[in-house]
């Protein structure tokens, strides 16, 4: 890739920092060129997060039907599966699976809720009410 062909499409990272790309100058010699982003990459990130949002929406719908607890929504929001959530919280996977049931979740201790809230960068209040700020 030639230096002048390095894309400069502003990405969310580009607002914070440019990235270094290796590219060639007029004589074919390698040099570095700062880039602010590339549409192809921005789209790849966008479709990935759109998919996460779709899964969050599905989790909300299931919750409203009383099929799952709010936990599923927060797992989707944080792109966590059972294995990762279990590793962060220290809860066994089967315990988390139980916490996904609305009835069990409703009786969770404050201590357990605080643990989840920390991992989700959230608050106990938000976990209980699903009123999410930010």
């Amino acid at each position: 890739m030639k230096k002048e062909d390095v894309p400069q499409d502003l990405s969310s990272l580009g607002k914070i920092t440019t990235e270094i790309c290796y590219a060639t100058d007029e004589s074919g010699k390698y040099t570095t060129q700062q880039s602010r982003g590339w549409d192809v990459k921005i789209d790849a990130l966008d479709v990935t997060w759109e998919n996460v949002e779709k899964r969050m929406k599905e989790a909300t719908e299931k919750m409203e039907k009383g099929e799952v607890s709010p936990l599923l929504y927060f797992m989707e929001k944080n792109v966590m599966d059972l294995a990762i959530l279990s590793a962060y919280t220290g809860f066994w996977k089967w315990r988390i699976r139980r916490h996904l049931k609305p009835g069990v979740f409703g009786k969770l201790s404050d201590k357990a809720l605080r643990k989840y809230a920390e991992v989700f960068n959230s608050t106990v209040e938000e976990l209980k009410t699903m009123n999410i700020h930010a």
Partner: protein, 339 residues
């Protein structure tokens, strides 16, 4: 006390950390492409039975830790690397290093990395950064892919050092033990470059099985042609988006690390004036360009502009073509008569 550490921005986190730690310790000839090439950083692997964030597990570079380890070893520099089970011990060791004015590399997860934009925070645990100074309860962090340094609280740094999931860093910390004033002579550099290329040839051409090296690229190309019918258009699009992210996202230098490798071969030519190095540098530039063309094709699919089986065939054929190009290039490199 203020550290004299100088932040150096890089394309890839691990070659960047390696370059930066060595340069700051006085190894003046070091550059990021040299660290990448001596560390045999170029790779390809697609592990079909493994899933990462619900998508395919594809890597364009060698296993985390290899670049630093191999670069230092090839240059005759001893390496210290530690993992911890206790968070307190991990912090105590880090604080001790910083008190001795020693900058250290840390493997971290990016999910809770505070200075990364939210869009980039996945559960990816093989990121590398340098911690070079502590002031009260704040650490100063030189992340090679960022333009400037950042500051993190004790809690924030502990959280990313003890990220969980695949490749959990477990507080991993590493640094080169270089005596003050040590220099590396050209003979050592030449030998290290040669060694790096030979190992990279092995990794790309001779690893048994169909999923790694140039065979892995062809394997992935053939798989992609089946993704449309096998996975459905939406999921196939998400898979391709993941492929492109691994290939082009921050920390790759573009073109799935192929441009950094091409830059390395040019720099290698300055040490070994062998024409094949220049010629193959141009070949890896072409391979990088082809990877980029394939990313544009993939974007057409995941954005919904394209979607027929013919479009997937074009995508797969790009990878088959790249596999042939890189096979040829590494074969030429493998036959070099070193002086």
């Amino acid at each position: 006390m203020h550290s004299a550490f100088k932040h150096i921005q890089a394309a890839h986190c691990e070659s960047g950390v390696t370059n930066s730690l060595l340069r700051n310790a006085g190894i003046q000839q070091m550059t990021e492409p040299l660290a990448f090439g001596i560390g045999s950083g170029l790779f390809f692997v697609y592990v079909p039975f493994l899933k990462i964030n619900g998508g395919p597990a594809i890597a364009f570079r060698s296993f985390p830790g290899i670049i630093f380890k191999q670069t230092c070893q090839s240059l005759g520099i001893p390496v210290t690397r530690k993992k911890f089970s206790s968070r307190e011990a991990a912090q105590a060791f880090l604080d001790q290093c910083l008190a001795e004015d020693r900058a250290v590399g840390c493997q971290v997860g990016v999910y809770y990395l505070p200075y990364f934009p939210k869009e980039y925070r996945f559960h990816f645990n093989a990121h590398n950064l340098i911690v070079y100074e502590k002031e009260k309860d704040h650490y100063f962090v030189s992340d090679p892919i960022m333009e400037t340094v950042a500051s993190m609280s004790e809690y924030e740094l502990e959280r990313v050092r003890f990220a969980k999931g695949a490749l959990a860093p477990r507080g991993q910390i590493y640094y080169p033990s270089i005596p003050r004033g040590k220099t590396i002579d050209d003979a050592t550099m030449k030998q290290a470059i040669r060694n790096g290329i030979k190992k990279n040839v092995f990794n790309m051409l001779h690893i048994p099985g169909p999923i790694a090296g140039v065979k892995g690229i062809g394997f992935t190309g053939r798989r992609i042609k089946k993704w449309r019918d096998g996975l459905g258009l939406t999921k196939a699009g998400l898979y391709l988006a993941q492929l492109v992210r691994m290939q082009e996202e921050i920390g790759t230098g573009g073109g799935g690390f192929r441009y950094i490798y091409a830059a390395f071969l040019q720099e290698a030519y300055a040490f070994h004036p062998i024409d094949e190095l220049q010629l193959m540098s141009a070949e890896f530039t072409r391979a990088g360009d082809r990877w980029r063309d394939s990313a544009v094709q993939a974007a057409g699919i995941y954005k919904g502009r394209l979607g027929s089986q013919a479009d997937f065939d074009v995508m797969g054929d790009y990878l088959l073509e790249i596999a042939a190009m890189e096979k040829k290039a590494f074969t030429v490199l493998s036959k070099i008569k070193w002086h």
